[in-house]
Amino acid sequence: MLIAAAPTEAADTDPFLALIEPLLPAGYRLAYAMLRSQAEAEDALQEALLRAWAARARMRPDTSPRPWFLTIVANQCRQQRRSRWWSVLKRADLPDGPTTPEDAISGDPDLHRALARLPHRHRLVLVLRYYLDLSFEDIGRVQGVSTGAAKARVHRALRHLRAEVPEDLNDA
């Protein structure tokens, strides 16, 4: 097993953090986009970091840790959503108005609500592609599928989104 370090001061004392710390902002953005709540995104990030630390022996030394860490964050978001199923139901009951403070200040409420109604798997690939700017190759790594399959998943998710806001997304 390789215990890795990165070129920061932290590497002197904490090789794991030196490798993962630069990924935390991306992990937080992913969690925020998936959960739509600052507090829940922070919880998800903290849990994901703990999980990553526990699972660090599985981290491949010679590949980028970014997809690996984002996979853990995405999985944590999924679990948090499941554990608060009641709040998802509540949102489904209130499709016409903002349900969280974050909703209320969203810059594009129609698209925001459409995203909220998307299944987790569709929302995830769209967030990875259009919010985190991941390449299809990296999306494939996060999802454990080929680059081609990742492209297909993004297109499927866009089709679902079109069903919600068809007039806006014809060429996306």
Partner: protein
């Protein structure tokens, strides 16, 4: 709408994640708190932290002390010294092309698939143990790599038997690391949590250190501790470190493998003791273990594909005995997944499953083409786990 315009709208619909830097800092602080494991029951996540600290403790106890001790003393320790692995029985190594190399192939694709599907629990890794014939370069699974009633360390209820090492004296696969095997190769140690955890963060009462006699097929519960135990078997006896249940000061112990008497030796080193050593001038890199003479095997450089990476054995007075100096990454020609000492030789498997490497200080690197394993898949890795037989 074009893609960039859609991207802009998409981002606007979600908005900027607030206080990004602060969120990252809080996550790091949470991890530090957990690793310090000094909050006991005051924090709802304390047990989760402890479980994770234990994971690190196990890893560190397996790998760290030996390496750190070696580095601190200048890398000139004898294999018979304290904490060193038992000398390899292959004192007169066979010619490289006339032997078989024990190797384990780990397939993690199911783990990634489960994570991608958002499953609540990760999929299981599968591990296949077998041998590479260096005459043909072909890997073949060994059907004798089966549990055969051999117990193994368990923390979680879902833990399964996995071959970890091929013992050259017993000539069988064992479910433990080589430094958990007794010096006479008759027994090995393992630990059991009670109760077994259903998930990370679940409470447990104690850990019991066991010794299993492989030849007699008998198991002895040696010592139970109200917390967690990580141990290795050295010439001195069983050297253990403990972490109290709920966190707190870890202790180092020497346990008599016959009587089970445990003698406290003082505070345990912190589980995340840094392994980077300035004596070799390493700013970025890591350790791969030790060679057959107990010298550290070090990589200096970045981990990202294309980064410069130098693999070397650490000699005395900061001297570097270079194994390979080149480019890192799974597509690089030399990308070892680990190093297996074998007398004066080091064996490595390339991470992409395409090659086995042999290195000696005198002759340098030699490459053997490998077949019979899945190649070029980032989630299938191979590692050599013993000397060539």
């Amino acid at each position: 709408m074009h893609e960039n315009e859609f991207r802009h709208r998409f981002r606007a619909s979600i908005g900027e994640a607030p206080d990004e830097a602060a969120a990252a800092q809080r996550a790091v602080a949470t991890l530090h708190r957990g690793r310090a494991a000094d909050e006991g029951g005051r924090h709802p996540r304390a047990l989760a932290f402890v479980a994770m600290a234990l994971t690190l403790l196990v890893l560190t106890s397996l790998l760290g002390p030996r390496i750190v001790r070696t580095v601190r003393t200048g890398g000139a320790t004898s294999p018979a010294g304290a904490g060193a692995p038992p000398p390899s029985p292959a004192s007169a190594p066979k010619p490289a092309t006339a032997c078989r190399l024990p190797m384990i192939v780990t397939d993690s694709r199911a783990v990634l698939s489960a994570a991608a599907a958002g499953a609540d629990s990760n999929g299981m890794e599968t591990e296949t143990a077998g041998f590479v014939s260096l005459a043909t370069g072909r890997f073949q699974a060994d059907p004798t790599a089966v549990p055969d009633g051999m117990p193994f360390s368990r923390m979680y209820a879902k833990d399964v038997w996995r071959p970890q090492v091929y013992d050259t004296v017993l000539r069988r696969w064992l479910p433990v690391q080589s430094d958990e095997v007794s010096p006479d190769h008759g027994s090995y140690l393992y630990v059991d949590y009670s109760p077994l955890l259903a998930a990370k963060g679940n409470p447990f009462d104690s850990t019991t250190l066991h010794v299993y006699d492989v030849r007699k097929r008998t198991d002895r519960a040696l010592w139970t501790y109200a917390g967690a135990i990580a141990a290795q078997w050295t010439a001195r006896g069983i050297e253990a470190t403990t972490t109290p249940r709920g966190g707190g000061q870890g202790l180092a112990w020497l346990v008599d493998p016959d009587s089970g008497a445990a003698t406290a030796k003082g505070p345990a080193p912190p589980p995340d003791q840094p392994l980077i050593d300035r004596s070799y001038g390493i700013r970025t890199g890591g350790y791969y273990g030790t060679d057959g003479r107990g010298r550290p095997i070090i990589v200096e450089g970045g981990l990202n594909p294309g980064s410069h990476a130098m693999y070397f054995v650490g000699g005395p007075n900061g001297r570097r005995i270079v194994i390979h100096d080149g480019v890192a990454g799974p597509d690089a020609e030399f990308a070892p997944s680990g190093f297996a000492p074998d007398g004066d030789r080091l064996w490595m498997a390339n991470v992409d499953g395409t090659a086995i490497w042999l290195w000696t200080e005198r002759d340098g690197l030699k490459r053997f083409a490998l077949s019979g394993v899945i190649q070029h898949d980032p989630y299938v890795t191979s590692r050599v786990v013993g000397p060539c037989l």
